[in-house]
């Protein structure tokens, strides 16, 4: 047991995803032994990131401006929209170099057991983006796990009557995994071989 601020630091670190009590303790002592300037820089970045970084008003991707770099880029294909769960998935798909369209970040997957339903995701915003008829293909790139699949099922049923082509990334992605863990080659191949989703 540690006193006061050290205990607070371990507590705060332990709340971060993927950090257990042992790791929290290790990081806390690493920080205590680090150069004060390094720690100050880290603290400043943490504060700045919360102040400056926003979510793109169009697609929901993280950005430090009103809209993100991808939404502003006129060379991107505006007829294709890739729907992902999180911003980190945009990065993963960008790394493949296989995709030139735009994105829509849902902010998660439908997960009833966590109380997250369709209304808690950016699905309404997605439907709004489709009203002008410019988008003709939607690629659903939610995680290859059950919640990602069920979210894809829900979206396919919702979007099919709008006359859009709705596709899902091809199999070959490790089932049960997270999209961010797929290597670029596998993810790129999954893009090339996407299949049509029937509602």
């Amino acid at each position: 047991m540690y006193d006061g601020v050290v205990a607070d630091l371990i507590d705060e670190l332990g709340r971060l995803p993927g950090i257990g009590p042992k790791s929290a303790q290790r990081i806390a002592f690493y920080l205590l032994q680090s150069d004060p300037a390094d720690v100050r820089r880290l603290a400043e970045v943490l504060v700045t990131v919360k102040d400056k970084v926003r979510f793109c008003a169009i697609c929901g991707h993280v950005t430090d401006e009103e809209t993100c770099r991808i939404c502003r880029d006129p060379r991107r294909d505006s007829t294709a929209l890739c729907v992902v769960e999180e911003s980190k998935d945009v990065i993963a798909v960008e790394k493949t170099g296989e995709y030139r369209g735009r994105y829509h970040v849902l902010g998660g997957a439908i997960s009833p057991i966590d109380g997250i339903g369709p209304d808690d995701l950016r699905i309404r915003e997605l439907l709004q983006r489709l009203t002008d008829g410019e988008v003709t293909e939607i690629i659903v790139a939610t995680d290859p796990n059950l919640e990602g699949e069920a979210t894809a099922t829900y979206l396919a049923r919702l979007l099919a009557p709008m006359g859009l082509t709705v596709t899902r990334l091809a199999s070959g992605l490790p089932v049960g995994g997270d999209l961010e863990y797929a290597d670029e080659v596998t993810l790129g191949r999954a893009f090339a071989g996407r299949r049509r989703l029937d509602a």
Partner: protein, 243 residues
């Protein structure tokens, strides 16, 4: 630490660290168990998709102080892939998993009846023989009954006067006759109470023939019973897509 083998349904998974998961299992022999599955989120994990919710698995586990560890997993049946392609069935199934977790409140307390009920419920759900909403309600009523909470849907819950009755009290024992019903007690269609009784006893002929109005009312009462007995409702229940 001793190791053991058991069959289980995966109820829930939570991320742990970089690549591991904590899986909540309803086992045949040991009731609800929480266990760590190491490396399960990595590409090429030997567990693959077997340890996802709805997985029916044959497991080898190492006993731990708070969490056990999965050392081997063989898939017996996976209901998840099929359910995730059918939104109403998937949401119904998810509510069944959550109910099974909440109605087995004590870890490692054997409840073979809850286990068999869940296996049967998931089988029925993928067989598409009945409306998923009815399957869910039947599951909830039976799971409550196994947990010891079984209201009367026919005889008066207080004086046992034979039904049908027109009043139903969540808090007061179920169906109530005109003499026993407290003032202001909500009235319920006798067909709805008959449907609830049929779902509890497994009379699918009656249940399948029921009309949408009574199904809606029965679903509302089944949900209210669950919420009343668990004090806190199931999070997935309001998100179930009902026909």
């Amino acid at each position: 630490m001793p190791s053991y083998r058991d069959e289980a349904i995966v109820l829930r998974t939570q991320r742990l660290g970089e690549a591991d998961r904590i899986v909540t299992l309803l086992t045949r022999g040991r009731g609800r168990v929480r266990a760590v599955a190491k490396g399960v989120r990595r590409t090429g994990s030997r567990f693959g998709a077997r340890l996802e919710p709805f997985g029916h698995v044959d497991l080898q586990l190492h006993e731990g102080r708070s969490l056990d560890t999965v050392t081997q997993a063989e898939s017996l049946q996976s209901y998840g892939a099929e359910l995730s392609g059918d939104y109403p069935r998937w949401t119904s199934g998810t509510a069944m998993l959550e109910a099974a977790e909440r109605l087995t409140p004590v870890e490692r307390e054997p409840s073979v009846q809850q286990y068999l009920l869940l296996v049967g419920g998931l089988r029925t759900l993928v067989s598409r023989t009945h409306d998923p909403s009815l399957i869910l309600d039947a599951f909830l009523l039976r799971s409550l009954a196994i947990a010891g909470w079984s209201p009367s849907f026919w005889d008066c819950g207080l004086c046992t006067a034979p039904g049908p009755h027109r009043a139903f009290s969540i808090t007061g024992g179920g169906a109530l006759c005109t003499d026993c019903r407290p003032p202001g007690c909500a009235t319920t269609a006798p067909e709805t109470l008959a449907l609830l009784g049929a779902l509890l006893s497994g009379d699918w002929v009656l249940a399948d023939a029921s009309d949408p109005r009574h199904r809606r009312e029965a679903s509302g009462l089944a949900a209210a019973l669950v919420t009343w007995h668990l004090e806190r409702g199931l999070r997935s229940l309001p998100l179930v897509e009902r026909g």
